[in-house]
Symmetry: C2
Subunit: 220 residues, 2 copies
DNA sequence: AAAATAAATTAGGTTAAACTAAAAAATAAT
DNA sequence: ATTATTTTTTAGTTTAACCTAATTTATTTT
């Protein structure tokens, strides 16, 4: 069973929206995620249904199948390994990798991805802190919460970002927030949900609710 | 000006057949090279003509333009750099790289290819001995002749292969011929054109005319 | 429960890239 | 110089992946 590039992109979007997000995924959600029109999505859902990577009843909704999950995870695995390669070996910044990985993830070669994995020393997380599925599709996920949901005085370590857009990542670079940083919540403002944190025991940082909710933390 | 993957493949084939080969390139030649039907080639030639990467007058023939050469060389550059990456970094054998490089060459990112070039230490030749064009499309080509055309007692160094098929490359591996090997022609058989050579001053090797004509040598 | 609104699908069209079969042009053979 | 052959192009289809506009189904509101 092989999927086209477009099919892989759709399936990946469906996986992200369903398995990692809410249970029910709408045609409009997928269209927004993939930046395409709902009519095109309907068309593709029928095709993915025929290929049995999703279970699809029109007007009712869809459910990704075990086969679909497995294939989606293989694409995600490739995407994240390439991101690690770009950052670790080619010195890309973490905000420069997504677009290129979006292309590289579709290269078809089992040997390539296994060799790449070995070459990178079997990394467990990508530059944005997202877990890299192994060759069998197993994902070791860490329990993590949004910084925005932490209590005052609670401390932890930044382990991932929810939003991987260049604008957001460059903002984090600018203020000095990074994956691996140890943080402690100093204050939370009731009024607008903004937070004040201490980074690496030396630098205090204010951030909006919007920013804080896109930073994922492993609490101690 | 951007080309699709199919257009890049056609243009690359046209470049190889015209610039590196004979002057006049037929529709059938291209069809054979790309493993497609002549009718499909005619269609594509019209499109490539409109994009001005070739000059095309139907029934008369085609000529690749300077713009076409430049674009073809960029694709060839990417192809060969990826081949070096696969062999040097991911331990691919030289007969395993072509198919994967055929896909990787179409990844679009200027940053990627410049960084890759730097990471590989600006290699000048790919694993098959073919020169890698630089970012400006300049190719440093060495004067090389087919082993088959060497005289008895003449010596030199294997610098490239004409045929990159896995079958041929694996045969060379088996008999112990490799790029960089110093050789000397011991004998040439008039009857069938086969040759006997001495490799690295220790091992003698017999090879058919067919094999010898696909090995390129830099004569001392 | 009917009407209004929102969401999803279908109908019909476009573009890229392939194909087969038929026609046209160029080349080779008599 | 015709005729025959080969090469190339055109005509007409197919498939994948998109689109807009129209229609159908589901959901909400009155
Ligand atoms: Mn992609
Ligand atoms: Mn990532
Ligand atoms: Mn290619
Ligand atoms: Mn090569």
């Amino acid at each position: 069973m092989e999927l086209t590039t477009a099919e892989e992109n759709y399936l990946k979007a469906i996986y992200h929206l369903s398995v990692e997000g809410k249970k029910s995924v709408s045609t409009n959600d997928i269209a927004a995620e993939i930046r395409t029109k709902p009519a095109s999505v309907s068309d593709m859902l029928r095709k993915l249904g025929e290929k049995e990577v999703i279970q699809y009843r029109k007007y009712y909704g869809l459910q990704i199948t075990p086969l679909g999950i497995q294939l989606a995870l293989q694409t995600i695995r490739k995407h994240r390994l390439w991101e690690v390669f770009l950052v670790d070996k080619l010195n890309f910044a973490w905000d420069e990798v997504h677009e290129v990985a979006e292309q590289l993830e579709h290269i078809q070669s089992l040997l390539l991805i296994e060799r790449l994995d070995a070459y990178l020393n079997y990394p467990k997380f990508d530059p944005h802190g997202d877990p890299i599925p192994d060759a069998f599709g197993d994902v070791r996920s860490r329990p993590r919460i949004a910084l925005q949901e932490m209590e005052i005085d609670q401390s932890g370590q930044i382990v991932a970002v929810k939003d991987s857009s260049p604008a957001f990542l460059r903002y984090l670079d600018k203020v000095g927030a990074y994956i691996g940083a140890r943080i402690k919540v100093l204050d939370k403002v009731e009024f607008d949900g903004s937070v004040e944190i201490l980074v690496d025991q030396k630098k205090t940082l204010f951030m909006s609710k919007d920013v804080a909710s896109n930073i994922l933390v492993l609490t101690a």
